[in-house]
Symmetry: C2
C-alpha cells in the first residue's frame, strides 16, 4: 500500500464491482431510447445486459486508477467501450456474418427479436458509445473527451476492429480480398491485433487519457494491452479447441470448421500455453513502474491467460 490509498481487493471482487457499475450505466443510457421505441431499447438491453465479464471496461477503469482516477470518473469511457464491444457481437452473430444462435448462453439478438431489430440495435449501441464520450461526465476537459472519441473511432473502424472483421471473413474464404491473410503466425497476429486487440488498446489508452499519463506511461500501457490482447486471443483459441459449449456459453470448434488458421493450430496446444506464459511476463514487465496500484491489472493478465470461458 505504498502508492495507493485504495483498500486491497480481490480480482473477483473488483471485476464484480466494475461489472455492476457498467451494467447500471448501460441500463441508464439505453433507457433514453425507450420513449421512441420500446422494442429497440429492449433489444439493446438484451445485447448489452446479458452478463459478460466486462473485461474491457475493467481495463479502462483500472488503467485510469493507476493515475488515481476514481471509478465514477472512468465509467463513461468504460461504458462506451462496452457499447462498441456489444454492438460488434450483435452484428457478428447475424446470419450473414457468423450465424450464431447462442451468446453467453442466451439467444442472440436476431434470434430473440429479428434481424432488422438486431441490425438497428447494433447501430444504436455504436452511436450511443460516442454520445456517452461527448457528455461532460466522460471528462471535464473537452480536449480529453475529443481525444477519447478519436481513440475509440480509430480502434473500432476500418483501420481497427471492422478492418479485422473483414480480414477474418476473408480468412474463412468467404470472399476474395486483396488483404486475405496467409495462414502464418504474422498474419494471424495481425488479424488479432485488429479484430480484438484494437479495442483492448483503446481500453488502456482511455485510462491514460483520463489520468493525464506521460508518453512513457502511455508506451507501457500500450505494451501491457498488446500482451494482454494476444493472450486473450490465444486463450480464446484454446477454448475453441478444448472447451465445450455449455461452459464457454457459445458455439465452439467453429474456427477449425471454418478452415481458419489460429494461434493454437500454428503453435500447438503446448506452444500456445508457453506463449501465454511469456505474454503474462511481458504484461507484468510493462507494469513494473506502476507499483502496487497495478496489482489488479497484473492479476487480470493472469486471469485472461487462464480463463475457461
Amino acid at each position: 500500500m505504498t502508492q495507493t490509498d485504495r483498500p486491497a481487493e480481490t480480482l473477483a471482487d473488483a471485476l464484480a464491482r466494475c461489472a455492476g457499475a457498467v451494467a447500471a450505466e448501460l441500463e441508464r443510457v439505453i433507457a433514453r431510447a425507450q420513449p421512441v421505441s420500446d422494442r429497440l431499447a429492449r433489444a439493446m438491453r438484451h445485447a448489452a445486459l446479458a452478463g459478460g465479464k466486462r473485461l474491457r471496461p475493467f481495463l479502462v477503469i483500472e488503467s485510469a486508477a493507476l493515475f488515481g482516477v476514481p471509478m465514477p470518473r472512468a465509467l463513461p469511457a468504460a461504458t462506451a467501450l462496452e457499447c462498441v464491444h456489444c454492438y460488434s457481437l450483435v452484428h457478428d452473430d447475424l446470419p450473414a456474418m457468423d450465424d450464431d444462435d447462442l451468446r453467453r448462453g442466451q439467444p442472440t439478438v436476431h434470434r430473440a427479436y429479428d434481424e432488422a431489430t438486431a441490425i438497428l440495435a447494433g447501430d444504436g449501441l455504436l452511436t450511443l458509445a460516442f454520445e456517452l464520450l461527448a457528455e461532460p461526465a466522460a471528462a471535464p476537459d473537452p480536449a480529453v473527451r475529443i481525444a477519447l472519441v478519436a481513440a475509440l473511432a480509430r480502434a473500432a473502424g476500418g483501420e481497427g476492429m471492422i478492418g479485422g472483421q473483414m480480414l477474418d471473413l476473408a480468412a474463412e474464404g468467404r470472399f476474395a480480398d486483396a488483404g486475405r491473410p496467409a495462414p502464418d503466425l504474422a498474419s494471424v497476429a495481425r488479424l488479432q491485433e485488429l479484430k480484438t486487440g484494437a479495442l483492448l488498446r483503446y481500453a488502456c489508452e482511455a485510462g491514460g487519457l483520463l489520468g493525464g499519463a506521460s508518453p512513457s506511461e502511455i508506451a507501457n500501457l500500450q505494451a501491457y494491452s498488446r500482451a494482454v490482447g494476444r493472450a486473450f486471443q490465444i486463450a480464446d483459441d484454446l477454448l475453441d479447441v478444448e472447451g465445450d459449449a455449455a461452459t464457454v456459453g457459445k458455439a465452439v470448434g467453429k474456427d477449425s470448421a471454418a478452415g481458419k488458421a489460429t494461434f493454437v493450430e500454428l503453435l500447438g496446444v503446448d506452444g500456445a500455453r508457453a506463449e501465454l506464459g511469456r505474454l503474462v511476463e511481458n504484461a507484468h514487465a510493462a507494469l513494473s513502474g506502476f507499483g502496487t496500484r497495478a496489482t489488479l491489472l497484473r492479476e487480470a493478465a493472469v486471469f485472461i491467460a487462464e480463463r475457461r470461458n
Copy 2:
C-alpha cells in the same frame, strides 16, 4: 451583397461545388481503410461515392456560411454527416430491412458485394463519421468538436434516426412495438422528424456550432431545418406515388404496398402540394434575419420541395 463578400452563385453551381468537395473528402478518408482491407474500402466507396445530391452536407456548409465560415472549415462536419446518411442507406437496403436491389440507379452494396461486407461497410462509415469530427480539421476548438460529436450522436441514435427506423418498421407491421405509430398525421410527422428530420436538424445545428451562432440564430436554423425536413419527406412521398423508378433511381410505390400511412395518403396529392408551399414559406421566414447570405438556403428550400428525384 450587403452581408457577404461571396460572389453570387446559382444553386446548381453551389450544389455541384459542394458535392465535389464532399466526394473528394470521402475518397480521402475512406482510403485509410484500404491498407487493411481493400474490399472494405471498395464497399465503403461504393456506398458513399455513387453520386447523390449531397443535400445534407450542403446544408451544413451553407448554414456555416451564414456566419462567414468558409467551405473548407465546414467540410469535415459536412462529410461526417454524409457518412452517417450513406451508412443508414446501406443498412436500410439490406434483405432483412427494406431488401432493395437498386440505389441511385446502381446495385446496392449487398448486391454488388455481399451482406456481411455491407453490414461492415455501414458500420465502418458510421464510425468514420465520428473519427472525422474528432480531428482538429473539424474545428480548431475541442469544445466545438465535442459539441458536433454530441449533436451527431443524438441525431443518429435511438432517440433520432435509428429510433425512427424502428418506428418505420413497426408502421409496416413488421413486428409489434409499444411505440407503433397510429396512421394519423401527428404520428407520420413524428416518424419523419426522427427518421429523416434528425439528420437535417444536425446539418443546420452543425453550421451554427461552427459559426458560433447565438441562441436566437440557432432557433431560426432549427425552424428552417424543421420546415425543410418536412418538405423533404412530403416531396419523397409524392415521388413514391407519382415517380417512376428510372427517374427516381430507386424502387417506388413501396410505401403503399407496405401499408404505411404517408403525408400524401393523409393529405391527398393537392393537400400535400399546398403543405409544401406553406413549408417553403416557413423556411424562408426562418431565414429572414440572415439577409443575402441565406440566398442559397432559400433556394434550397424551393429545390427540396420541388425535386423530382
